[in-house]
């Protein structure tokens, strides 16, 4: 960690002015990711703007359109345990609670969660070439030990995986990210918030310089009856996903009326294929339907030397999570596989 100046911003507008006024000014909210990165010297700052004391953006409230607004500064724990989230968007609550640890969820904010950086080993090793950390230096993960890396949407420049669980839930629910910048406010559909690596793996998302997340809006539909978040990882808790799946189903008897499926652990962003969801519409809610849907989701998947298992694991996880969504009461703590 380099030494930096520290200031508390009184408002988001003030914070935005400060970010744009001076180079290498960064923002801290929960701190759980940026302090980690600063201590590893993976990022640096001349100035750190603390936005925790801006007075608003902590709230969770219903929106005029019948959805729910999650303030950017509400913590992950406040969000997951909020009565309206628990009752109307339990899929989101589950996905949040599958991530990190209780202590970190007490600190980490919703805005920060969306901005957390990859856990790629090579990104974290400052002496390895990494296009995300140092554009143009090369990707060490492609020829390296890539068991945890991506299988979808990769590029020859980067195969890193985006690590957030909450974002997988938000992607499935079709959330909208509200941002404010020097040019004012705008909204970004969740599917367009994070980026694929392409030629620019150093960019994780489409926030512009000086823009801050102010909140996240959830649409009215929360799939509160039939939902499940499944996380497959190398230990039962407190580990990043190898594969995770968020599934929301709307059923009419045994028939699927509407479905949402998003995958984590497979790409540079939460992976959602609308065609696969449309395929499920009108199909019976049985294994075979989810299996056929899984094939569509995984179309185009490209494995690397150590992660070819992820394709089959993702398919099976989609199938299982579909079945788990039919019986949410069976779900276990830590998003472990059940029924």
């Amino acid at each position: 960690m380099n030494n930096f100046d520290y200031q508390r911003a009184g408002s988001f507008d003030e914070a935005i002015r400060q970010i744009t006024a001076k180079n290498d000014t960064k923002v801290v909210a929960g701190g759980t990711n940026i302090l980690d990165l600063l201590k590893y010297f993976l990022t640096s700052a001349d100035r750190l703007i603390d936005i925790n004391h801006t007075g608003n953006h902590h709230d969770i409230r219903e929106t005029e359109s019948g959805g729910l607004h999650l303030g950017a500064l509400a913590t992950n724990a406040e969000t997951a345990y909020h009565p309206l989230v628990e009752s109307r968007y339990p899929l989101l609550a589950q996905s949040i609670l599958a991530g990190a640890s209780a202590q970190i969820r007490n600190m980490a904010t919703n805005g920060g969660n969306l901005l957390q950086r990859t856990r790629c080993y090579y990104f974290y090793d400052a002496s390895s070439p990494c296009n995300k950390r140092e554009p143009g230096s090369g990707c060490s993960a492609i020829p390296g030990y890539n068991r945890i890396m991506a299988i979808l949407g990769t590029s020859e420049h980067c195969i890193a995986v985006y690590p957030s669980d909450m974002s997988v839930g938000l992607a499935a629910l079709g959330a909208v990210v509200n941002v404010r910048g020097p040019q004012g406010d705008r909204s970004i559909p969740f599917s367009e918030f994070h980026r694929l690596p392409g030629e620019t793996p150093h960019l994780d998302n489409n926030l512009q310089h000086g823009e801050l997340i102010t909140g996240i809006d959830l649409p009215q539909k929360g799939f509160a009856e039939n939902y499940s978040y499944l996380k497959l990882r190398d230990r039962n808790s407190y580990a990043f996903a190898l594969i995770s799946v968020a599934t929301g189903l709307e059923l009419d008897g045994d028939i699927i009326k509407d479905a949402r499926i998003a995958l984590g652990g497979v790409a540079h962003k939460p992976w959602r294929i609308p065609e696969a969801e449309q395929f499920l519409t009108g199909k019976p809610a049985v294994r075979e339907s989810f299996a056929a849907c899984a094939d569509i989701v995984l179309q185009g998947a490209v494995p690397y030397k150590y992660n070819s298992f992820k394709i089959e694991m993702a398919k099976r996880a989609i199938i299982r999570n579909g079945m788990m969504a039919l019986d949410p009461s069976s779900q276990l703590p830590g998003a472990q596989p059940s029924v």
Binding site: N3, D5, G31, K39, Y81, A100, A102, Q103, N236
Partner: protein, 161 residues
């Protein structure tokens, strides 16, 4: 850039008011350990990956390594040194001793602070839920069974899975 300056911050720690002069880059954990000699809060990884530095900040359990001391100016903090009531141990501390819920003792302060935070949160009812919500605290000696037994004993109304 201008050299960052020392900041004067106020921390209420274990019901005592402290005024501290720190640079912005000092983590809350290092402020406690190096500046206040409150070494009961442990550093096991410094990156939020082990839970040894868990403390209660404004009533909530957090890892003190991933926050800056300056960010907590004005906060109320309880560390392991403030858990007992004088010589009277907290029920969890007693239960940890009875259940031999530690060996080397290095993760213990974090485990106890975390368990107190967890009980206050009120989200864990079963043993399986306690295990999940305590999983942010690693123990390398393998005292896990004693730790969970001790917590279950203290949690009234907690049922075993």
């Amino acid at each position: 850039m201008a050299a960052p300056e020392l900041r004067s911050i106020n921390l209420n720690i274990n019901k005592e008011q402290h005024v501290l002069q720190v640079l912005p880059w000092v983590s809350l954990l290092d402020a406690l350990r190096d500046h206040l000699q409150l070494t009961g809060t442990k550093k096991g990884c410094d990156h939020g990956q082990c839970g040894a530095c868990t403390i209660l900040c404004d009533g909530k359990r957090i890892v003190s390594c991933l926050t800056l001391a300056v960010m907590k100016d004005g906060a109320s903090i309880t560390t392991i040194e403030g858990i007992a009531d004088g010589e009277q141990l907290h029920p969890l501390q007693k239960a940890f001793i009875e259940h031999d819920a530690f060996q080397c003792g290095y993760c213990t302060p974090g485990q106890i602070c975390s368990a107190i935070g967890m009980i206050q949160e009120g989200k864990a009812k079963t043993r399986a839920e306690v295990k999940e919500l305590m999983s942010g605290n690693l123990c390398r000696c393998g005292a896990n069974i004693g730790i969970i037994d001790a917590i279950m004993e203290v949690m009234e109304g907690g049922s075993n899975e």
